[in-house]
């Protein structure tokens, strides 16, 4: 299982194939994508070391709260354009309910706590994206 903050894009299909196991009846993925809010590109920045540690804590919390079997979290940083992948959360479980719940838990905690920031570049200039929790 992978928890990483990286410049590299990810291959969701390959990861799903790698993660499938005979006791897994459900996999839920969340993919965050760069939306066109009148922007030319975005730049993502992280406090890398702390971000990975915090994601690992969130993963461990998800394992403790839900009967899930696998968690992968890949968050990208660097320069991204509209349509590019930002984040992937892939949760495997015996059944769909815990897979959905685990996946939602992880993305919500990520948005609250993980030190990652976005700057949008628009034709009129640049702006830091306001977090949802400030």
């Amino acid at each position: 299982m992978v928890v990483t903050v990286t410049q590299e894009d990810f291959d969701i299909n390959r990861l799903i194939e790698e993660r499938k196991a005979s006791d897994m009846g459900a996999m839920v993925s969340f993919i965050g994508i760069v939306r066109d809010d009148g922007i030319e590109r975005i730049e993502l920045e992280a406090h890398q070391e702390v971000a990975v540690e915090e994601l690992e804590v969130i993963r461990d919390e998800a394992f403790a709260k839900f009967p899930i079997k696998s968690v992968d979290i890949i968050h990208r940083i660097g320069d991204l354009k509209v349509g590019d992948n930002i984040v992937l959360i892939l949760v495997g479980a015996g059944h769909r309910r815990e897979a959905f719940e685990g996946c939602e838990y992880i993305i919500e905690r990520l948005k609250e706590r993980v030190p990652i920031w976005k700057k949008e570049y628009t034709p009129d200039g640049e702006r830091w994206v306001q977090g949802e929790h400030h």
Binding site: E45, A46, H47, A51, L110, R113, P115, G131
Partner: protein
């Protein structure tokens, strides 16, 4: 004693990504460090403190990679080699 201060995102643009600060006072607190940084420019002051001199509520402070409770900054005594990180509100995902 030397304190390493790292700043991210909007704060990086104001304070620079990293500074090594020399604190002369023996038992300098985290609060004192923030006041020193704020004293360097009006932009720095207004990024950290509101008009009443209260630390802005959205700021996240890390000491040696652990989150600091904002109510304790005046009581936290810094040690030589401490790493302080200043975060604006996070916006990942």
């Amino acid at each position: 004693m030397k304190i390493r201060v790292q700043s991210f995102a909007r704060f990086r643009e104001i304070f620079g990504s990293e500074q090594i600060r020399e604190m002369v006072e023996e038992e300098a607190t985290l609060g004192a460090l923030l006041l020193e940084i704020a004293a360097e420019s009006p932009a720095a002051r207004s990024a950290l403190f509101d008009e009443d001199g209260i630390l802005r509520k959205y700021i996240i402070l890390m000491r040696n990679k652990k989150r600091v409770n904002r109510d304790e900054i005046a009581a936290i005594i810094l040690n030589d080699g401490d790493e302080i990180a200043l975060y604006p509100p996070v916006a990942g995902g």
